[in-house]
Each structure stands twice: as C-alpha cells, then as structure tokens.
C-alpha cells in the first residue's frame, strides 16, 4: 500500500477510536448515560425559556407562544453549542494530551478533529429530539429538512478550521483559553439565539452580515421550523466562510505541528 494512503487510513482508524472513546466518556460512564444528551439541553432550555420568554416576553415566529419560543431557541442553541463547545475544548486539547504528543509519534490533528466530531454527534442527538418535539407541537417535517446534512457538513468545516487554529495558537500562548471563553460568550449574545434577528436595531444589522453563526442559525430555523429552504446566497456565503476557515486553520496547524512536541 502507498505509505501516504496508509497514513491517512491510520488517521481514520485513530479518529474513529478517539471519537468513540470521547462519546463513551461523555455518555456511557455516567448513570444517566445517553439521556444526558437530551436532559442537559432540555434543562438549559427550560431556564432560558423561563427567563427570556416568560419574564422578558421575547417572542418568535407568527404564533408568539411560549412553545414556539422554546423550539426556536432550541433550534438556535443546538448548532451554537456544537460550535462553541468544540471551539472551547479544542483550544485546550493539545495541552491536555501533551504527554501523547511529546512521547508518541502521533498525528496531532486527530485531537481537534475528535472534539469537533464528538460535539456534532451530540448535536445530532439533539436535532432528532428537536424534530420530534417540533412535530409534536404541529411543525411536521417538510422536504427542506433534507437539506440539514448540508448545513451540518459546512458547519463541521467551519468549526474544524477554527478548532485547528485555536488549538495551534494555544500551544504558544496559553492565555488564548481565557480569550476564547470570553469571546464565545460575547459571540453567543451577538447571535440571534435568544431573540429574533428582527429585534436588532437597523443600524446594527451589519453585525449579522459579519456573523457566520447568525447566518447558520437562520438557515437551521428555516429548514427545521419554517419549512422553507434557506436562501442560496446564505449557504454560499457561509460555505465560503467555512472553506476559508478550514483552509487557514489547516495551514496554520500543519505549518506548526512539528513544533508542538517542543512547545508543550
């Protein structure tokens, strides 16, 4: 077999094993098991719904009911959490596995990739739950839902690029972890997850155009809750951003990964 191909194959095996273990660690070890994938966001959802919908009276969609709010919120939280959890965890993943990187010849990019894929699997579980809940409350799935895999695909590209970049930079500057934590929180509130984007004042709308996650959340809602396909322009812009993110992140990572063992 060609050595390059063998290397790739090995990375695939490794990635599969790592993701499998990461998921097991997340769900199998605890008593609640896989139920946590649903219980955890559900509790969050209850709290957020109570604060934003019942107390602050934020409304989504045409019906303006509390359930509609909860569905919209959940639909926004799922991709956001998959993204932000990955970004936060991948920042520290190389440092956390420093022993491996320093002592074993090991394709380090498997580590951020593992983080991203694990979170996407968790998101998948949540999406299944969301679709069922939406159906129960009268939003039967329609054909645009078939576009969901496309969204998840570009989202993985986008997240992976950022994950690779953050993981790399954090090897040199450990403070990045702190910045990321704060940055993600700001980013979350700038993304229309807790409020409809129409509520953003006109003069601040440009923020949405520059926020790929806002675009992504919008597309998720279109496909899952509004029963319409997203605008092709939105997908093109997001996919473009995702491609740039992945290309830059990958380039940064591969140009530096030889130093990791020395730096950690």
């Amino acid at each position: 077999m060609h050595p390059k191909l063998e290397h790739l194959l090995r990375q695939r095996h490794l990635l599969r094993d790592f993701v499998g273990r990461d998921l097991q660690a997340k769900y199998v070890g605890s008593t609640g098991g896989i139920a946590w994938a649903v219980i955890h966001p559900l509790l969050l959802l209850l709290v957020y719904t109570f604060v934003f919908s019942v107390i602050l009276q934020v409304r989504f969609g045409t019906q303006g009911s509390v359930t509609a709010f909860a569905l919209y919120l959940y639909c926004g939280l799922l991709p956001w959490h998959a993204f932000s959890d990955s970004a936060a965890r991948s920042t520290s993943c190389l440092v956390a596995h420093r022993g491996l990187i320093k002592n074993v010849r090991f394709p380090a990019k498997v580590l951020p990739a593992t983080v991203v894929l694990t979170d996407v699997v968790s998101e998948g579980i949540g999406l299944g739950f969301l679709i069922a809940a939406a159906w129960f409350f009268g939003h039967a799935p329609t054909w645009p839902i078939l576009l969901l895999p496309v969204l998840v695909g570009v989202q993985v590209m986008f997240t992976l690029g950022i994950a690779l970049a953050l993981a790399t930079v954090n090897v040199y500057f450990r403070d990045v972890e702190q910045f990321v934590r704060v940055g993600l929180m700001v980013w979350m509130f700038l993304t229309p997850i807790f409020y409809p984007q129409e509520r953003i004042p006109e003069r601040l709308r440009f923020l949405l155009d520059w926020n790929p996650m806002a675009r992504l959340v919008g597309m998720y809602r279109a496909v899952l809750l509004e029963g319409r396909p997203f605008a092709l322009r939105d997908l093109a812009l997001y996919a473009g951003t995702a491609f740039i993110s992945l290309a830059l992140g990958y380039a940064l990572f591969t140009r530096n990964h030889r130093n990791f063992a020395d730096m950690l």
């Binding site: 090995r10 095996h13 490794l14 094993d17 273990r21 097991q24 660690a25 070890g29 596995h97 022993g99 491996l100 990187i101 320093k102 002592n103 074993v104 010849r105 090991f106 040199y172 500057f173 450990r174 403070d175 030889r258 063992a261 020395d262």
Partner: protein
C-alpha cells in the same frame, strides 16, 4: 548496514523567560530577539549498526531523552542529518493516552491504535499483552481501580507489544517489583536475540554494562566519551559524583534537611553538623565504600554528668537505617562531666560506608545517660542531607552486607 546514522545533529530549544516575551518577539517580526537558545544536543555523530544494542548514559539534563525523541521522531533536529533505517518504536513514557475511567481492555485497544496498530493487529496481540501484564482478573475493570504497579505493568506490556526494527527504551520504564522488572529485561533480551537494534537510555551503569555492546556518555548535550561500558564507567561515575555533590550541597544549603522537630532540655547545644571525607574536607556525595565522617560542634550551657552523642541515619523515604552512639558500641566511649561554658567537637567515622545509592539524612542528638532513662538534652531531627552515588560495582538494596562466599561442587 547501519540502523542509525547521525551526522552533526543538534537540537536547539528557544527559551523564553516569560510567555509575554514570545508575543513581543512575534510583534517585532524577527528584528529583535527576546529568547535565549538552549542547545539540548550538539555535534552528535553516531553510527549504530543493525542488531546492535547501544546504551546512552549521562547525568540528568545531558540530552539523553532528546536523543530518544529525535530517533522516535516526536521532535526534529535543528541541524544535521539523522538517518533512521527501519521502523522505530519508542517507550519514552508509559501510559500516555490511558484514560482511568475506561477498562483495561479498552485502554489496551486504544493504546494499540495510538501506537499505530490496526484493529485486527490489536486484537491479535491482545491476549499476549494481558498475559505479559498478568492482569486477566482485572482487565475489564476501570484502570482507575488499578494500583500504580498494575497500571505500569499494563502500559509496559502494550509498549513492548509493538514489534519494531529499532527499539528505543528509557530504562526508567522497566518498572514494578523485582519479578516484573525481570520480565521486562527478559523481553528486551528477547528483542536482542531476534536481531533488533536497541537504544537504551539509563541512569544505571550496571544495567548498561549487562545489556549494551557499546555506550555513549553524554554531558551537557555533547558526547563526552564512547566505548564499552568499562571504558566509560570511570568517567561516568566521576561525572555523577560531581553533579550529585553540587545538587545535594545546594539542597543542604537551602536547608532541605533542617526543619525537622527539635527537643530537649538544652543544657548542651549542638551546632553545625557536617559530613566530611577521608581528607577532612566537607562533602555531600559519597560512594559506597568511602569513609564518611560526621562532625558536630557543641557548646555546654549547663553542667551535664554523662552526655552521650548519637546519630540517626534515615533514607529519604523515612526508613530508619541505623541509630548509633558512642556508648552503645563494642568499645564504649564515655565523656563527662561537662561544665557550662565549655565547647567541643564530636567526630564519628563510618569506614567503609556500607550504604548504597540513594539520598539519606541524619538526625543528631545528645542525651544525658546519668538517669535510668536517658533524658534528651538536644535532639534535632533531619539536620543534614547527603547522597550516596552509584559505586563501581553493581549492588542492589540499601546496604552492602559484608559477605564471604564459598561455592562447592
């Protein structure tokens, strides 16, 4: 045919005093430098033939593990060329990638995967790995329930299950009890018999002497000597002795030994306990068989009828090795009465020193033996630290027992 060839290989690390300095250097874009260079390895020339077993020894920080990392490929040389012909497997640190929450079985499979085995290969080797570690009863229990010994056994078993052309081993990894250590060495001997190339890093001359055809002695990142174990032994022992002397001296000066409890009625004050060599010069590192003189000065504050001075020798782990004084002796020595205002000096010589390699500390005390039960006058725990370095003859344990052997057949 060479397994390894190094031509003027060097490895430089850039050391930044503070993380912020790295950022500054980045912002200056190479126009100013905020780091200093640390050469962990310089001018390394090696030609290791296939099927040879070579040892790498040297004091701490000499660059031993840098060589291992370069050969296994976890890090790259800064300059020079390094040729490695054949597959390499390195055992540098055990249990990397083990997750304590998972079962031994799951960790073994995962570790095999990390070391580059396919699932089929890992399954094929699983049985022999667990056989080697002798952990069948607990293999399905989480690794966090394992004792340290069990954990390391499992990790070692996985590490040696890879079958490379060139094996790179850090000897610190032959772990666990004597029985398992024997198994580890047997496995390494087995590699040798099958014609594999082995590079063996060690702190112990004895092990290298038994295993290696040739030894490289490193100091400060450079090859100080090369040859058979016998040829480099003296140089190595001298080096280690000097290093340990400096280390223990510094530790002793910082007061690593003091800080132990002190009690007694204080009629005599013991001050300045020193360890001296045969020539009477102060020393902190001794080799087995050297003469060690423990000297203490004292000052009498109030009359004491029958003072007895003594020393307690402890190993760094707290093991009480010996308690000695001049009264409980084959030829007892008595002193006194001592009058207030007097000063004096006590010397106790241990010759030959029967202690083996390790860190030891001394407690020093003075008791009044004029009563039925001796009364503490000045008892000071842990007043002095000293090191015993490896001697020219291989010996194991804490003490060298005086022996005479007869074999009939």
């Amino acid at each position: 045919m060479l397994a390894l060839r190094a031509h003027d290989v060097g490895k430089k690390y850039e050391v930044f005093r503070r993380p912020a300095d790295r950022l500054k250097e980045l912002l200056w874009a190479g126009r100013r430098s905020f780091h200093h260079d640390l050469w962990a390895l310089k001018h390394l020339y090696l030609e290791v033939p296939r099927s040879a077993t070579w040892g790498v020894i040297g004091p701490n920080g000499a660059g031993k593990s840098t060589i291992l990392k370069l050969i296994t490929g976890t890090t790259r040389p800064t300059c020079g060329t390094l040729e490695v012909n054949g597959s390499v497997s390195g055992i540098l640190e055990l249990g990397q990638g083990f997750n304590p929450e998972f079962s031994g079985r799951s960790n073994v499979m995962m570790n095999c995967s990390i070391l580059g085995m396919s699932r089929a290969e890992a399954l094929a080797k699983f049985e022999s790995i667990v056989d080697f570690a002798e952990l069948w009863e607990v293999i399905d229990r989480p690794v966090r329930t394992y004792s340290t010994g069990m954990y390391l056994r499992l990790a070692f078993a996985v590490a040696v299950s890879v079958d490379p052309d060139i094996l790179v081993v850090d000897e610190a990894l032959a772990v666990g009890d004597e029985y398992f250590r024997g198994k580890c060495y047997a496995r390494i001997n087995d590699f040798r018999r099958r014609g594999k190339t082995i590079l063996f890093v060690s702190h112990s001359l004895g092990v290298v002497r038994n295993l290696c055809d040739r030894v490289i002695l490193l100091q400060n990142g450079e090859v100080a000597a090369q040859g058979t174990a016998e040829e480099v032994a003296d140089e190595y022992l001298r080096m280690v002795h000097a290093q340990e002397e400096a280390r223990v001296k510094a530790a002793d000066r910082r007061g690593a030994a003091s800080g132990g409890p002190r009690w007694g009625d204080g009629r005599i004050e013991i001050r300045e306990v020193r360890s001296l060599d045969r020539a009477g010069a102060e020393r902190h590192a001794f080799a087995p068989g050297d003469a060690l003189t423990i000297e203490a000065r004292f000052r009498v504050k109030a009359d004491v009828e029958r003072p007895v001075f003594g020393v307690g020798v402890f190993r760094s782990d707290g093991t009480y090795v010996s308690g000695i004084n001049h009264l409980w002796h084959e030829r007892p020595l008595t002193v006194g009465p001592l009058r207030g205002g007097e000063t004096g000096r006590v010397r106790c010589t241990i010759d030959p020193l029967p202690l083996l390699k390790g860190t030891y500390y001394l407690s020093y005390f003075c008791y009044d033996h004029s009563e039925a039960v001796p009364v503490a006058i000045d008892h000071q725990e842990r007043v002095k630290l000293f090191q015993v370095v490896e001697g020219p003859v291989e010996m194991h344990g804490i003490v060298a027992l005086p022996t005479r052997w007869e074999i009939e057949h």
